[in-house]
Amino acid sequence: MSAVHAAAKGHAHGADLTEAGGHGHAESQRIVVAYGFWIFLISDIIMFAAFFATYAVLTDSTAGGPSGKDLFGIGNVALETAFLLTSSLTCGLAGIGAQARNQKLFYISMAITFVLGAAFLVLELREFAEMIEAGAGPSRSGFLSAFFALIGCHGFHVTAGLLWLLTMMAQVYAKGFRDDILRRMLCFSLFWHTLDIIWVALFSLVYLVGVAQ
């Protein structure tokens, strides 16, 4: 176990390392868990970068079909962004509620986060449905294949995040604010904030640049 601590700490403070196992076990485990999850999130970001690179390469490969300028509705994207950004704030408040063991703040913030995330997803699916109906589905051109893959991948992450959110609410309800539940909550809020960071890249570089061109 001390090897794990040593690996997680990474600092060269020798005295620190020997003392790490002695006290504050819950805190150091919290650091190990969250750091591991952070590494996962960074690899997730790298995966998104691969999808994004594909999209960037294929932006002009419209095969005579519609381009981003013809398809993207700025109003819809603005609304999606507003929902996701606000849900990031409420997710942060839920994290504070969990840390402070404030049930009311936790449940209300989580519920608002869920509603905003679900609203985001509805708007995105509606956009997809409209595009497919207009004959601009993923099979239309290289540009649209890359677009649906990239945005769909983010939407899939949001869906997974919503399921995780409900699981966290159920776990807090059933088990209370235990240390292990709080660690999971920390990982969840890291995940949700990271989805918002990825969305920042998507709305700026996919939608806004697509419309501006």
Partner: protein, 139 residues
């Protein structure tokens, strides 16, 4: 015991622990969370401001058109920075070195992936024969 225990955890958290978990904001004692909410509120306001500038920029005619994609990229990076600092609590503090190093490595790979792909593929497009000529040769 309860308030005392809370304070001693806070002390361990603040003073003796050498590292911070990513996303951790050290809200332990009950009175502390006003501070945490304030941090999120500042981050939210900054993020909303940057988002509004981005959306305005995309449609305005005040900016020289070819510079818009670059301006949008810069704004997006600024907003990602705001998110990292205020929402994910990734800071430049000495207790955050591990988190920042992992992130820096991730950013390096992302840049290599995106700019490397774009660089290679634009060159490939430059060198490639136009499609209509290609078609003629295949006949």
């Amino acid at each position: 015991m309860s308030t005392n225990g809370g304070e001693s955890t806070l002390a361990v958290h603040g003073m003796e622990q050498g590292d911070t978990a990513p996303g951790d904001e050290r809200v332990v004692a009950h009175a502390e969370y006003a501070q945490g909410i304030k941090g999120y509120a500042i981050g939210f306001v900054l993020a909303v401001g940057l988002t509004c500038v981005s959306f305005y920029m995309a449609r305005s005619s005040l900016v020289w058109a070819p510079s818009i994609p670059i301006a949008l990229s810069v704004l997006a990076m600024a907003q990602m920075g705001v998110h990292l600092v205020f929402f994910l609590h990734i800071t430049t503090g000495p207790d955050n070195v591990n988190n920042v190093l992992a992130l820096a490595f991730g950013v390096l790979i992302v840049m290599l992936l995106v700019f490397g792909s774009l660089w290679i593929m634009t060159h490939l497009n430059h060198m490639a024969m136009p499609m209509d000529q290609m078609m003629k040769m295949q006949r």
